[in-house]
Symmetry: none
DNA sequence: ATGAGTCCTGAATCAGAAG
DNA sequence: CCTTCTGATTCAGGACTCA
């Protein structure tokens, strides 16, 4: 037994990118040898026609061959196979992270459970700057979902509670993470200046995952390595990585990227967090929350009146619109701060609606 | 056909709470009769003895080595059965919302897809005041997941885009909703002062769902009615509801609650609508009515010119056709909204032709 | 240098009526 | 069922230009 684990460790191709199909490659690695798997598999988007922005520019969609699957059945078979291969190489106390969108994440989550993984959290990556919904036909798809699961219910998984709490300004880290998408200098470009990979993940996301659920010196394996964000962050944080990627172009970009990465010194690991701006509170939320009732009248200091509608707009005489628009129209002013302009009545008192906004903000912390 | 739909409508037990198992009850309702299903099914996979098979037999506690698989199997059977029953009673253009946590939502989402529902969005309810993780062993579980799906890929589902945008102060609504959990006076208590239901959902959540994805007068069915949040909000918003609940204690609380609910006044229920919903005005009508003269020149923002012809088409250089076709051709764009693209001149001013359309529409009332 | 203004882009299951 | 045609629709942030 001792011999086995020792030789296994020696055989592990650490800090390298392996060329090949991830299922075959994982099946060729020694079992129970990896501490964490991070997997960003194809999402199986099933896009139909082209999509244009209102300015007529075309959206550069993910239409790569590797995201095409003939059916749910084919996708499920693929998912079952790579998850089983990942589970075999995980140490008994190992864990896995997967990321996906509504196209594939439900199928992945169900299969994780079927195989005996134990879900610890589902985590929502709330994008601060998502692509809008250009046709106005659905909600802006502003998040992706990660699932964090241990290899089994009995696993003593790693969780650096205090580190994540510190990262969150001393407050316990929640299951929703607000992080920007990968743009700017961090976004890798090819020789033409186009994005090197259609779905490069931000390092901030991997930072939180690796810092929170592995210890320095442990091994993180990414079966869909792409441009190597997992490897880059693992290296910075003093973890070993194994990348598997079958597209030569991605491997090449990742190799160059990794060569430039420097491990942080310990002091640098203390992350500075930016001050948060005061959260925007839409007026509609006062209506949804029942603080104001649709049909209720608001009054201005000089006695103008308007009625609240169910969608958070106001209506007064022939004017309708937001609290700001209606206020401005009634005062024939170019603009108006509806929050201080409008008041509601409670028990004979006239109270500015801004009080209600402050109440919501205080709840948000 | 006419007879059928008329009698179906008559048979629907509107604005009532039906006692019984939701699968049986739904199977007893006429098919294609409901506009929206909102479902908050049991989350618990570990079967504390209150889960039933599709045939309504009670599930025995599982005590063997197959526990986990058997539990998922039974939960999946249950999910498959109630989703199929819900799908049968949905109108062809109907839609469904389900809510769950990581314990069950992946299995529900996969089954939705398997049955042919078409996922439109997954929505994250981000709780502003979640229960902390007391042991510090995981991330604070601070959200739940909703899935919004149409009955089929082809369904013309209802989405009140402008209303939700208004609710969010003019910015399109995203897939992550920050709302507080149900507490305070909204949280229903039993005669002992204990909470009447363990998982009562906030009305704000249902407000957004029902306002955004149904129209006034439509029918919303909730197969796991509980204390009746769905019914209460549907009533406020002028929608009809059907509730199904097999626990007498919940039905009793819900009945009392619903009796107190008042519908919002009609004017408050009129929400912002998109231009799409307004009557179509052919460009030729502006010519017929003499608002524009044949031979008159129109100009684009960037100085392109086209001449109005008597039949309501335009001609520019070698291009002729509708206002949209000529605009698209001159801009080499895949499409063009001629109403906002073309302008005419009056008294030295350049005015978009859309002004004239608005004039006609306002005459139409 | 700084700031205002412009342009570009991101895992997207993105139309519907009329003929 | 098909095809044709109208015409509605975007937020945040980084890069870049120009005064």
């Amino acid at each position: 037994m001792t011999k086995k684990s020792a030789s296994d460790a020696a055989e592990l191709p650490l800090n390298r990118i392996i060329d090949g199909d991830c299922i075959e490659v994982m099946n060729g690695l020694p079992e129970a040898s990896v501490d964490l798997v991070f997997a960003d598999p194809p999402y199986n988007l099933q896009l139909r026609g082209d999509l244009h922005r209102p300015d007529n520019s075309k959206v550069d969609a993910v239409d790569d061959h590797w995201d095409q699957f003939a059916s749910f059945k084919v996708y499920d078979d693929f998912t079952r196979a790579w998850l089983a291969a990942a589970r075999r190489i995980l140490k008994p106390n190992g864990a896995i992270w997967v990321i996906g969108s509504y196209h594939n994440v439900f199928r992945m989550g169900a299969e994780l459970q079927n195989q005996g993984f134990w879900i610890l959290n589902d985590v929502v990556w709330r994008k601060s700057n998502p692509m809008p919904n250009f046709r106005g036909k659905r909600l802006t798809n502003a998040h992706e979902t990660l699932i964090w699961a241990s290899r089994s219910e009995e696993a003593k998984y790693t969780f650096n509670y205090e580190a994540l709490k510190a990262l969150n300004e001393g407050i316990q880290m929640r299951s929703d993470w607000v992080l920007p998408i990968c743009t700017g200098h961090e976004r890798l470009k090819d020789e033409n200046g186009d994005k090197a990979h259609p779905t490069q993940k931000p390092e901030s996301l991997l930072h939180r995952v690796i810092l929170g659920t592995t210890n320095p010196g442990e091994v993180v394996l990414d079966p869909f390595f792409g441009t190597g964000t997992t490897g880059a962050v693992a290296k910075m944080l003093g973890r070993d990585f194994i990348g598997i990627e079958r597209e030569a172009a991605y491997r090449e970009v990742a190799e160059k990227r990794l060569a430039k990465v420097r491990k942080f010194d310990k002091e640098a690991l203390i992350v500075s967090t930016s001050k948060r701006a005061e959260p925007r509170v839409p007026f509609g939320q006062l209506v949804e929350r029942g603080m104001l009732r649709p049909g209720e009248m608001l009054v201005s200091p000089r006695g103008k009146r308007a009625k609240v509608r169910a969608d958070g707009t106001l209506i007064a005489d022939d004017v309708k619109g937001s609290i700001h628009q209606v206020g401005a129209a009634l005062e024939s002013a170019p603009s108006c701060n509806g929050w201080t302009y409008w008041h509601f009545k409670r028990e004979g008192k006239t109270i500015p609606i801004d009080i209600l906004r402050q109440q919501i903000r205080s709840e948000l912390g």
